[in-house]
């Protein structure tokens, strides 16, 4: 509970995603900037013209399906891969000529890459010793790191004598020991089970807050990205499809891919009919879905012209389901219940529309299942507000 509240609090603090636009306006220097970075492996383009700014103190998540180039992007930042073209700036300075061992960037590897022949303490001290610090300073810093990840009692263990979660903490401590400007984490929680994973996510957030280091985390788990990060960059096929806060990505996806990748979404194909009218309909457009008589009023940030083909995206939890027609609702459509998926606290109704498309509507189960009034094959009405739907051209 405690830890949860801390992440919520953090989202209102200064180093939140929302401040990134402010930083941009103020002309601050981003800690990391990718400028038109391209990476090709032979004929294959793994990273395709990526431009991206990350601000000091951010917890930035790179999210995307497998093979979309997340690791490649991170490895270019660490210096293990060289971009085919483009620039990477760290604190405003081009770091491409700097070899990986001289970059003020540390990486936590997916496999942890702990040195099997060294104890936990020596693993953590490894980077410090390379820096030519005095013995006392190395010892003090190592102790500090052991404390930070609560591994003081395991200092003498070898990596193979520890559990996955413990190894993960040592790997984190080792990567943080040199006090890098930037910490890169490549799927750091991939090897942990669901429970430990959740606990570790909060721990990561706490440590990041405590140190104020900029973290860039790679993950293909959208829930993880939403939980830990201040901003998310969604990648697909080597390009960055959208960069925004977790809420921004969820509420205002810029494309069908992003809408579909983050959470569950209903997509209906159709075209723009014209401007919508109504009290809450500022900037809304009227949308006609293919094969359905009714039109819907939905937000349209792309300002599409009438007649353009586009998609209506609505999240299942924003659709209300009822047996009677609601006279006041703006967006309303009827259908037949095809299926009901019951997951304890939630029920998802799969409703078939007149055009054959199935729409998902999610309801919180306030009553027990037996008393549910809607069942299979019922004729139902689905409705959603003017603010719930989003029209996407891509």
């Amino acid at each position: 509970m405690n830890e949860q509240s801390s992440t919520q609090k953090r989202n209102q603090q200064t180093v939140s995603g929302n401040s990134s636009t402010r930083f941009e306006k103020e002309g601050r220097t981003p800690i990391v900037e990718f400028r038109n970075v391209v990476k090709q492996f032979g004929e294959f383009t793994a990273v395709d013209d990526v431009s991206l700014k990350i601000w000091p103190g951010e917890f930035f998540a790179l999210l995307g399906p497998s093979g979309c180039g997340k690791t490649t992007l991170l490895r270019m930042l660490a210096g293990f891969e060289t971009p085919s073209s483009g620039e990477i700036l760290l604190d405003g300075k081009n770091i491409l000529p700097v070899p990986p061992n001289k970059r003020p960037v540390n990486m936590m590897f997916q496999s942890y890459a702990l040195f099997p022949h060294l104890s936990v303490r020596d693993n953590i001290a490894f980077g410090l010793k390379r820096d030519g610090m005095t013995k006392e300073n190395i010892e003090a810093r190592t102790e500090e790191m052991l404390k930070l990840v609560r591994m003081e009692n395991f200092a003498h263990r070898k990596p193979h004598q520890m559990s996955g979660g413990q190894r993960q903490r040592v790997a984190l401590a080792r990567a943080l020991a040199k006090n890098p400007k930037l910490l890169l984490l490549d799927e750091p929680l991939g090897a942990l089970d669901a429970k430990l994973r959740e606990a570790t996510q909060f721990e990561l957030v706490n440590i990041q807050e405590k140190l104020g280091t900029t973290f860039i985390i790679v993950t293909h788990d959208q829930e993880e990205a939403m939980t830990v990060s201040t901003r998310i960059g969604v990648m697909n096929l080597g390009i960055v499809a959208q960069v925004d806060t977790p809420a921004g990505i969820y509420e205002n996806p810029s494309s069908r891919f992003v809408a579909d990748f983050i959470g569950d979404v209903n997509l209906l194909e159709g075209r723009i009919e014209g401007e919508a009218k109504g009290k809450h309909a500022e900037g809304n457009m009227l949308f006609a879905a293919n094969g359905i008589e009714t039109t819907f009023s939905a937000r349209c940030p792309d300002q599409l012209e009438a007649g353009t083909t586009c998609w209506l995206a609505v999240r299942p939890e924003k659709i209300a389901i009822s047996k009677e027609k609601d006279t006041k609702a703006v967006n309303q459509v009827s259908g037949v219940v095809d299926d009901i998926a019951y997951v304890g606290n939630l029920s998802t109704y799969h409703v078939r529309l007149a055009n054959g498309r199935v729409i998902k509507a999610q309801e919180v189960n306030r009553r027990r299942v037996e008393n549910r009034e809607i069942t299979w094959e019922d004729e139902v009405w689905l409705s959603f507000t003017e603010g719930a739907g989003l029209l996407l051209a891509e």
Binding site: P100, N101, N106, M107, S111, F115, H117, R130, H160, K178
Partner: protein
């Protein structure tokens, strides 16, 4: 047959094997080493026979003594042979390591698809007889051999090098013959190593060279040690290589042993030489054994 029985049989098989093929011959050799020479067939007394009953057995045991072992201490030849064998084995093990490690390392750095072929090349020499391969080296190393012809043709040297019948030839022979025993264990430890360890070391501030010394070499140590023992132990008792390639001044215990057996026909002294050699090698063999055990525990 119940489970306990089956297990007992399974365990018994290797023990019986050891008993028949190691312990029994060892006891026979040990017995001969405690006997005296005789001009007879076999060329030593006493011989064991049960036909004379109890007194025969008593006579047999009273005929055994440690004379031959005392003799080994008396004659500098034997001590010198042992020392020189150990030294030659040590030097050649070191040289094999120097050649073998880069070879194994290079193999693990080669493209994945090449590796089976490279491994094949390492094992390929085993397809022909060891003796023939050592003979072939005579053709290469002798004064008018291939090596000298080649170097003369290159103009690197003006007079042919004298390599044949020297310790150098023995070193070359041992390094060549035992190289696979060094390369294979090192290759297998290096191959198991995760490349991200090196990247992690570099990420933490190591240069490539220091990452090699701090990560690659320590992690390859078990393989290096295994390779060294696999070369050192048989090299100490090597006979064929010093006999064919070494000169008259090349002193190795294998040759001394051969001379005692076949030139002097002094089986008891030869057996004593063999027993002492075994005792000398027990120490490194035990260390090797312990290391393997530790390694197995570690990997669990």
């Amino acid at each position: 047959m119940n489970k306990g029985w089956r297990r007992a049989v399974l365990i018994a098989v290797p023990y019986l094997w050891l008993l028949f093929f190691f312990l029994v011959p060892f006891i026979i050799v040990l017995k001969i080493s405690l006997s005296d020479t005789a001009i007879a067939m076999p060329p030593y007394v006493p011989t064991f026979s049960l036909s004379e009953g109890w007194s025969g057995i008593q006579n047999f045991f009273s005929g055994l003594d440690f004379e031959n072992f005392a003799w080994l201490l008396d004659d500098r030849l034997y001590i010198n042979s042992y020392l020189s064998s150990l030294w030659i084995a040590l030097v050649s093990t070191f040289l094999t390591l120097i050649v073998g490690f880069p070879l194994a390392y290079g193999m693990t750095r080669a493209p994945e698809s090449w590796r089976p072929r490279l491994l094949m090349l390492i094992i390929l020499p085993f397809w022909t007889s060891f003796l023939i391969r050592v003979y072939a080296w005579i053709g290469i190393l002798k004064t008018e051999g291939l090596l000298n012809q080649f170097l003369l043709w290159l103009g690197v040297i003006n007079d042919p090098l004298i390599i044949m019948n020297t310790n150098t030839a023995v070193y070359i022979g041992i390094v060549y013959s035992y190289l696979p025993f060094m390369v294979l264990p090192i290759y297998s430890t290096l191959d198991k190593m995760d490349d991200s360890l090196l990247e992690a070391a570099i990420d933490l501030g190591c240069s490539k060279i220091s990452a090699f010394w701090r990560i690659t070499v320590p992690l390859a140590l078990p393989g290096i040690a295994a390779g060294c023992f696999l070369v050192f132990i048989p090299a100490v008792g090597e006979f064929v290589i010093p006999d064919l390639l070494g000169g008259s001044q090349t002193l190795m215990i294998g040759k001394t042993l051969w001379n005692e057996f076949f030139s002097n026909r002094d089986w008891p002294v030869a057996s004593a030489v063999a027993i002492v050699l075994l005792l000398l090698l027990v120490v490194p063999i035990l260390i090797f054994q312990r290391m393997l055990e530790r390694e197995q525990e570690g990997s669990k």
